[in-house]
């Protein structure tokens, strides 16, 4: 960790917030002040070559964070620094250069590949856009990439619908790696796949990272998937990061009650161990992001919440070197009556 803090971060996200208007339409959209606070004051850093996992339940703002970093949606507040440059202040030309070094892998491999382009055209598209190499060189590169991601290079002229879901995600991965980017944002890249295929794709991503030294922002809702691949993990709840740590500490010594309850829901493949575990069941549903609770956003469902939690918003504090937690009662395994073994 100490070594990492000396290194310059590749991506630095500072106080990122994104709000969407709650009502659409000509009149309601213009005059209504109600907004969906999808992401609120999120800050983190990603270092070259590392995998940063971002977990949380659906609707907590993980994908919006990824898309805001990529400038697919414009953040309402905050700034994103890529390689020391502010993404929000980039000209179109600088933005294009930045996109050469930052790529995106989408959740749904079916929707992210243009059905009317052959996979050769799809994978070579980033190279075409950025004018890399001659046409022949690009074709050679596509064949090489297909080989690297475990597809038959002879299938270069086939259409996406001729492949299975896992194969399509490999095509998406080949496309993301076409320009050898420094950072790839993986937006739930395996959640649409079978469990057996998930492992293959995760291993492929790991192998490619070892080979090319790419950093990942790995967005997922499945803690076991994130554990498999991440160096550091951030947990999000209702648009805010509640805990950041290296994955080992997070899994063994969670400091935030929400993290702890999430971990208690991860199934353990050993029935004897599973029997001894007790799940922490949170009462109710996540509150609506249109009108998030005052104070700590988690206090309405937190088993250890006290009065202060509803009044004062906890800051993300460093509880140990490299381990941050946003809770007034941040201690190791705060929900003490439950022990979690991993």
């Amino acid at each position: 960790m100490a070594e990492q803090n000396v290194r310059k971060p590749l991506l630095k996200v500072e106080h990122l917030s994104k709000e969407f208007p709650a009502e659409a339409g000509m009149i309601a959209g213009r005059f209504s002040k109600r907004v969906v606070s999808a992401v609120k004051d999120v800050s983190f850093e990603i270092y070259p070559g590392e995998t940063f996992g971002l977990v949380g339940e659906s609707g907590c703002g993980k994908s919006t964070t990824g898309r805001s970093i990529m400038r697919l949606t414009k953040p309402t507040e905050g700034s994103v620094f890529f390689d020391g440059q502010d993404v929000a202040k980039m000209s179109n030309r600088e933005l294009k250069d930045m996109r050469r070094n930052m790529q995106f892998i989408f959740q749904d491999p079916q929707a992210s590949l243009n059905p009317r382009m052959t996979i050769g055209e799809i994978i070579s598209e980033p190279m075409t856009i950025h004018n890399v190499g001659t046409k022949e060189e690009r074709i050679d590169r596509v064949r090489e990439l297909l080989d690297v991601v475990g597809l038959n290079p002879e299938h270069i002229n086939r259409y996406p619908h001729e492949f299975s879901g896992g194969q399509r995600q490999r095509i998406g991965i080949a496309r993301a790696f076409a320009l050898r980017p420094k950072l790839i944002i993986c937006d739930e890249p395996v959640s649409a796949l079978d469990v057996s295929i998930q492992a293959q794709v995760l291993n492929l991503l790991k192998d490619l990272q070892d080979k090319f030294g790419t950093a990942y922002l790995f967005i997922a809702h499945d803690l076991s998937v994130v554990q498999h691949i991440s160096d550091r993990v951030a947990v999000m709840y209702l648009g805010k990061i509640v805990e950041i740590s290296d994955w080992k500490t997070l899994y063994t010594e969670p400091h935030h009650p929400y993290t702890q309850s999430l971990l208690s829901a991860v199934p353990v493949p050993d029935p004897d161990v599973q029997k001894t575990r007790k799940r922490i069941i949170l009462p109710g549903d996540p509150p609506s992001p249109i009108d998030p609770p005052a104070g700590c956003r988690f206090h309405t469902r937190c088993p250890i919440a006290k009065e202060i939690c509803g009044n004062e918003e906890p800051k993300l504090c460093e509880v140990r070197p490299g381990h941050f937690c946003a809770c007034h009662y941040a201690t190791i395994n705060p929900i003490t009556e439950t022990s979690i073994e991993l």
Binding site: M70, E154, N157
Partner: protein, 317 residues
């Protein structure tokens, strides 16, 4: 499995040939969207027959001046001397479609009528497609106020009874063949605009558009490579079918007396002329009716075939 089933053998053959293709030219452009579409269209017998029929009708109509009057007589001026003998003759070798009340050959009138009908079909569709594409694209692209204004205009156009609107427009513009084209063309845009707008809106939401944007693609590239190819299929199909309905509209307008004026032939006006003799000389109505039926049907079948051909997910490419 010892004996591969026929479908498996087919699959193996297809694989073998595609592998051979891949090896012979490993370039990207060996498969293109339009090339593949043409390949699939050729396999659709009905669509090919329809296309041949349309081309045949068009060729006959275009070349009519060179041969038709010599063999079959003038399509417009009645031969007054022959009128007594050749009036209302049933189909025969000399007059394959029979003759009308003034002794004119029906076949030659159907042939000359095809000129009007095909021109109207193509021109009116070209006009409505051009307006419709621009309007639909603007509405879908810029959204907001643009969308609201354009789509409410379209609603207003669609709210009026179609034939009545065409008649009013012709009355306002002045009665001429050109104005019939223009009126039918102008009134056709709202439906095309709607189809194109919804096609773009649904394509725009796809992840691959975001993917292209995240790669740094320009707006032009996104439209040209991603949005247009995925939304154009519906327009090609719709426009083809629109040709048929434009032909029908012209027939209706001429039937009502606001389109082509006698003695010029058009399919609609011929049916109007023939209705008085429906019981005694039915060929007067049946022959131009058949011409409309077959041509409109051909355009519809071709449109159907194009839709299938432009769908990359249809297997046997």
């Amino acid at each position: 499995m010892l004996y591969p089933s026929p479908t498996q053998r087919l699959g193996m053959e297809a694989k073998a040939t595609s592998d051979a293709q891949d090896q012979s030219k490993s370039g990207l452009p060996s498969r293109t969207l339009w090339g593949d579409a043409w390949k699939r269209l050729r396999q659709n017998k009905l669509a090919i027959i329809a296309a041949i029929w349309i081309i045949f009708v068009a060729l006959v109509a275009i070349s009519a001046d060179l041969w038709a009057p010599q063999i079959l007589g003038s399509p417009t001026s009645a031969d007054t001397t022959a009128m007594a003998t050749s009036s209302l003759q049933p189909p025969s070798l000399e007059h394959p479609f029979g003759t009308d009340v003034t002794g004119r050959d029906i076949l030659v009138r159907v042939i000359y009528g095809a000129r009007i009908s095909l021109t109207i079909g193509l021109l009116a569709t070209a006009i409505s497609t051009a307006i419709g594409l621009v309007m639909g694209a603007l509405a879908a692209y810029y959204g907001g106020m643009f969308d609201t204004i354009i789509m409410r205009c379209a609603d207003i156009f669609l709210a009026f009874p179609y034939v009545l609107f065409v008649l009013c427009l012709i009355a306002a513009l002045g009665q001429s063949i050109t104005n019939v084209f223009v009126a039918i063309g102008i009134l056709g845009w709202p439906s095309i605009a709607r189809v194109f707008r919804s096609a773009i809106l649904s394509v725009k939401e796809n992840d691959y558009v975001d993917a292209a944007r995240s790669m740094g693609a320009s707006d032009f590239r996104i439209v040209a490579r991603h949005i247009f190819p995925n939304s154009v299929a519906s327009i090609v199909v719709y426009a083809t079918m629109n040709i048929g309905s434009a032909i029908l509209s012209e027939a209706a307008i001429s039937f009502l007396g606001m389109g082509v004026q006698p003695p010029n032939p058009s399919w609609g006006i011929m049916i109007q002329d023939g209705q008085a003799y429906l019981m005694t000389a039915p060929w007067l109505m049946i022959m131009p009716g058949l011409a409309i039926l077959t041509t409109v049907l051909a355009f519809t079948l071709l449109g159907d075939g194009l839709r299938d051909a432009l769908d990359v997910k249809m297997k046997d490419a």
